[in-house]
């Protein structure tokens, strides 16, 4: 009797476990909770575009000895269900055309052993008119050793809610919606109100070119920079992932800009001023100024383009300038030492930060024909010039 009870308990948990390691069947278009009206024939003869923040599509993490890929599961679930509901589906790109645009933004949490997805969504016609906007919450079983099905199934179920609602309400009208180029689609309708990350940039010449770290602009749907009194959407004009540098054209001339040193060599111990915008939220940002020294003329082992400095920095300082007392641009802030593993070993490093060398900055600017000047300036206090030359950059998804 005892064995039978244990067998029943194990069978029950086993069925739940199967759910947490097996993906939803590929042709699923409805379930007990979300149904499609009987008179609707799927797939609809409709072309749709889907926008999901890039950070969600690419998300991965390492835990329990293996790599987990919620982004891959989300991507494949989106492909599967949208192809079941519509005869033409694509990811949002300005060069595409579509009748409808779906904006999907998922977040996941673990709750009582299950994976809970909260999917914020909005559906637009291709001319930008919002049809409806809401949030759906769904759960799925979760297996710590094989998490793919959990992320896939939770994503699939949540999108089932969105799409069944859409077709039940709008299937009869799809033929009236024109196929339109998305080139004119207002991207501000797709991005979240708050930037996903912020960084810093500074003027490198009179023409209004801003230099920053390339990773500040990575995967942004919209990048905004404060130019004068207005916030302007911009794009990278030149970029190097290898050096982690990028140039943005602000479109406005600037009388305040930073010059590179005439010499490429760095002097150990030289004083530096760092200016950055470490706070998220472009409208409330104010510059942060710190001071330090060149603490090593070399970066971490294996680096050929960075050196170490001690001026305190924070997230959002990336791309900011490091300036000498003679107003020379001595580097672009790119990274800080990851101290977590060192702290676990009882070592607590402080202010171990890295910047790109002036030599590499010059090579990058020359390669991309970005004009710049060299030499010291003593006609203005370096802190004042640095502040006037620096601005904040916000990345939106």
């Amino acid at each position: 009797m005892l064995r039978l009870l244990m067998l029943i308990a194990i069978c029950s948990s086993l069925l739940a476990g199967c759910n947490s390691t097996t993906r939803v069947k590929p042709n699923t278009v409805s379930n007990k909770k979300y149904k499609v009206n009987k008179d609707i024939v799927l797939p609809l003869q409709t072309k749709v575009a889907v926008y999901v923040p890039n950070s969600k599509l690419k998300s991965e993490f390492f835990a329990v000895g293996r790599i987990h890929k919620p982004g891959k599961a989300l991507t494949e679930a989106t492909h599967s269900i949208f192809n079941n509901y519509f005869n033409e589906f694509s990811w949002f790109e300005s060069k595409q055309d579509a009748q409808y645009v779906f904006k999907l933004d998922p977040t996941w949490d673990l709750e009582a052993g299950d994976l809970k997805i909260t999917l914020n969504y909005e559906v637009f016609t291709s001319d930008g008119n919002s049809l409806f906007k809401d949030e759906v919450v769904e759960t799925s079983g979760y297996n710590y050793l094989n998490s793919d099905a959990g992320f896939y199934n939770s994503s699939y179920k949540a999108m089932l809610a969105v799409l069944s609602r859409f077709v039940n309400k709008h299937a009869s009208q799809v033929s009236n919606i024109p196929l339109v180029s998305l080139a004119g689609f207002d991207l501000d309708k797709l991005i979240n109100e708050k930037p996903i990350s912020t960084g810093t940039g500074f003027y490198i010449n009179q023409d209004g070119d801003l230099l920053t770290a390339a990773h500040v602009l990575r995967s942004c749907l919209v990048t905004k920079v404060k130019v004068g009194d207005e916030y302007k959407a911009v794009q990278a004009d030149a970029s190097s992932t290898l050096l982690d540098l990028a140039v943005i054209k602000s479109g406005k001339e600037s009388s305040s800009y930073l010059q590179l040193p005439s010499e490429n060599s760095l002097e150990l111990g030289e004083k530096l001023t760092s200016v950055s915008y470490p706070l998220e939220g472009l409208l409330e940002s104010s510059p942060n100024m710190t001071f330090g020294n060149i603490t090593s003329v070399k970066g971490l082992s294996g680096s050929k383009s960075t050196y170490q400095f001690s001026a305190p920095v924070q997230p959002g300082s990336s791309g900011g300038p490091l300036v000498s007392d003679n107003n020379e641009l001595l580097g672009v802030t790119t990274s800080s030492l990851n101290t977590k593993s060192l702290i676990e070993q009882g070592v607590i490093p402080q202010n171990v930060n890295f910047a790109t060398t002036p030599e590499m900055i010059k090579k990058f600017l020359n390669k991309h024909n970005i004009p710049f000047k060299q030499g010291k300036r003593n006609d203005i206090v370096s802190t004042k010039l640095t502040l006037e030359s620096t601005t904040s950059i916000a990345c939106y998804q």
Binding site: R3, M6, T21, N146, S240, T241, D244, G299, S303, T306
Partner: protein
Amino acid sequence: MKKVLILSVIAFLMVTSLHVKASLVLPPAQFINIVDDFLMDELKAYPMFADISAELPGSPIKVVAYLEQDTTSGGAAAEATSILLSASTLGILPVVSNKDLKLSYRILVNGQLLTEYSFIKNVTESDNIWLAQYDRKLDKDIVTWVKSTIPEVVSKLSNDAKVKALLDEYNFYFE
């Protein structure tokens, strides 16, 4: 005529073998190994990976090798049945599952994925259900299979336009 033909074939073979041998060489890169300890030495035996090291945290280029397991649909049913059998006896019986083992090699530049190549092997693996651990040493057959993927990934990376562009840029800035 025969001599000309033979000489042409020999010349062609020589040129072909030179082309195969002259593969690209990656710059000094940090190697992140989530497979098994043996893989580093196996990769470094090939000129392409001669300059990889686990001790280059400052290199903007990372080479990552990792393993994943995807349960095939047949595998899930086999595993369920096996678990039921094990549970019904409440003893120690192996869990039999069919899994696709996926080995991936990635090249990253300052955290951004440049390119990735994956290899898949279907395996049947027996594990004790009560003592199952997720951190095992690889079986000998799997080690042999992993080693067999290296020449192919060398060939793919050698012909990858993104890798060639990276090397051109690296040489421009640092050589």
